[in-house]
Amino acid sequence: MKKVLLTTLLFLVSFSLAQTVDEILDKVEANEEAKSAKIEMTQIVYTASGEERKSNLLSYSKDKGDKGLMEYLKPARIKGMKILMLNDGDDIWLYSPRTSRVRKIASHQKNQSVNGSDFSYDDMSAKDMRKDYNPQLLGEEELEGKKCFKLLMTAKDEDKTYSKSISWIDKSNYVLVKSEMYDEDKKLWKVLKMSDVSKVGNYWTPKSIEMKNVQKGSRTLMTMDKIEYDLPLKDNIFSERNLKR
């Protein structure tokens, strides 16, 4: 019996080691690919000078993240500002309620901070990482008590937001635990951490996401207050028409 168990364990271990980087990323993406999602979140920016800035957002996504819409609910200064993301975040439109203007954002702005946070427009869009980055499995490593796959993602083109990133994926649920992102000079730029993971519906979901800008000394904490997956969302939510309503 012991022999059978040992054989089985060895088989499982060798199977996990044998997983290719694509298989790992497929599982990571499968966990993130709810048909639709509605999330209410709180964002707190801790600036380098020790200030705290709090925002509340409502986000919708559909078609496995291909379409996304974010609306700022607070603070008053930017209340009603909406961001529409289509084609995996390749195309982004910004709506400003004070001017009633919808404006397409050029790609150079995607690398810029969203409302003073440490997340860029590009960070906020759910996109297929393999489209822009070449993945490589570096091995396995324990991080924060979790057994993880360690992956290297290298940018296919120089114009991508990050030149490379090193990510740790929890082997038990295929949720990203940590990612280190590097700038075009290959210097560490940002560190993303996900925690407070629990299963919401069919998906393992981190309720707390922290992005730290190492170079700037600031960090942004995003907390999921309410999450709904696979709910029926109409296509017209993700349209210019809805931005102006």
């Binding site: 200030e51 289509l86 009633s100 919808v102 397409k104 050029a106 150079h108 690398n111 210019e240 028409r241």
Partner: protein, 457 residues
């Protein structure tokens, strides 16, 4: 004979204006409150109220420098359901600022001489009108005027300088930026009431944005909404057809427009056609405008690009003050880029075939055309350059340079915006004018500096 505006007349005028505005304000505020209150009672959706308050103080480096100060409250309210919504934006303001709206122009400058010419034309028009002329004669010793600035000099210097700062002068105003009801149908959204109609893609210049006009008597005031009926029919996620009607005194003096917008090959693009006419233009003797426009926004490589172009034909029915009957063109094109360091740079060029390449040809009538939105400046070629960066988390620093390439003048505006907190910001801006005072547009303007505090709620 000269017009003598006595202090008593001034006070009477002031009181009349104040009383009229006050009653108007009270009526309007009541009307808005009743609508908001009734909606909040009858609707499951809660009424949302927000906005901001601000105080702006400016010092103008005139021969004898002076301050102006404007306190402003903007109240934005909205309520609605999936089938309709209501939106109202009201701006209350009180201002201590010079009585002469063109004191920001240097004495003896090119722009001052154009303003003089403009008011001479207006007064000549009054004198030629027998009814108006009689009115002037009855109420004063009206007679020939030698220009607006001369009228100002005839007033007691004390009156000019200090009246606007006294409690006798009307300084409270109410502006309705938006008051509209949106009705949502399956294939169209209908917007009825006062609204912003944001056409075009330009930042500094918007030749296709014909609907929300600047106040010709207060160029620093925000572009207010326009009373209109707008029907927006979407097709696809990013395409729509807009039909707009702006009522006037009669059909002939109403405006209509249509715009088709879509997204193709990664670019937002639109074409528009409109006929623009209103009572302001009738009073000033300006012809109707038939406008055909196109605009786009997108990117080339990593660089953001945008452009607008309009062809405008003035339709000179029985207007005789302006003899512009040929088609003219305006083109605006810009690009911007953000470096990885976060520094943002932009440039925007504006071509105006109604303007003049030679500043000697600037005419008083150009002032009307500029303030009525027919063109954005007196010159033929303009260039706006800007750079913005963020310092110490809390300060956004920007420098914008707007130059008139036709007369080699410019206005340079360094600004620092300090974020005291999420809800409070402080702005400091310096405005430096460069160019020949007697010959150029921007060289005519006094240097100034401004401090503004804004609190959002």
């Amino acid at each position: 004979m000269k017009v003598i505006l006595t202090p008593l007349m001034t006070v009477r005028y002031v009181l009349l204006q104040w009383t009229t505005r006050r009653d108007g304000c009270i009526t309007m505020v009541f009307a808005i409150m009743i609508v908001l209150f009734s909606i909040s009672l009858s609707d499951a959706q809660k009424l949302e109220i927000g906005g901001y308050g601000e105080n702006e103080t400016m010092f103008t480096f005139a021969d004898t420098g002076y301050f102006s100060d404007v306190a402003k409250l903007r109240v934005e309210a909205s309520a609605g359901t999936d089938f309709y919504s209501f939106e109202s934006h009201v701006i209350f303001s009180t201002a201590y600022q010079p009585i002469d709206p063109i004191l920001g122009m240097r004495k003896g400058s090119k722009m001052m001489s154009l303003f003089d010419g403009m008011f001479e034309n207006m007064l000549a028009g009054v004198q030629n009108d027998t009814t108006l002329s009689a009115m002037m004669t009855d109420s004063s010793n009206a007679g020939a005027m030698d220009g607006f600035s001369e009228l100002m000099f005839m007033l007691d210097d004390r009156t000019i300088r200090y009246l606007p700062y006294t409690s006798f002068y009307p300084k409270e105003t109410i502006m309705l930026d938006r008051l509209l009801i949106k009705l949502f149908f399956k294939h169209a959204d209908v917007y009825v009431g006062r609204q912003q109609i944001a056409w075009g893609t330009g930042y500094a210049f918007n030749p296709t944005d014909i609907w929300n006009q600047k106040n010709p008597l207060d160029v620093s005031a925000p572009k207010l909404g326009v009373n209109a009926l707008r029907i927006e029919m979407p097709f696809g996620e990013l395409s729509n057809i807009n039909l707009i009607g702006v009522p006037g005194a009669d059909l002939k003096h109403s405006s209509v427009g249509v715009r088709v917008k879509t997204n193709m090959l990664g670019y937002d693009a639109s074409v528009s056609a409109s006929r623009f006419m209103n009572a302001d233009r009738v009073i000033l003797g300006l012809p109707a405008r038939n406008i055909f426009g196109v605009d786009m926004a997108g990117q080339i490589g990593e660089v953001g690009v945008w452009a607008e172009a309009v062809a405008i034909n003035h339709k000179n029915d029985d207007m005789d003050n302006f003899e512009i009957d040929s088609t003219y063109f305006q083109v605006d094109a810009g690009l911007d880029y953000t470096f990885e360091s976060g520094i943002y740079v932009m440039g925007e060029y504006y071509f105006n075939s109604l303007g003049h390449s030679n500043p000697d040809r600037y005419a008083p009538t150009d002032i009307f055309l500029q303030y009525m939105g027919d063109m954005a400046g007196l010159g033929e070629n303009y260039l706006m350059l800007g750079v913005r960066d963020n310092f110490w988390d809390k300060v956004d620093a920007t420098v914008f340079v707007l130059s008139n390439l036709s007369d080699y003048s410019a206005i340079i505006m360094p600004t620092a915006e300090y974020y005291f907190s999420d809800g409070v910001s402080l702005d400091f801006r310096v405005s430096i004018a460069a160019g020949d005072r007697k010959k150029t547009e921007f060289g005519s303007i006094y240097h100034s500096m401004m401090a503004k505090i804004v609190a959002y709620f």
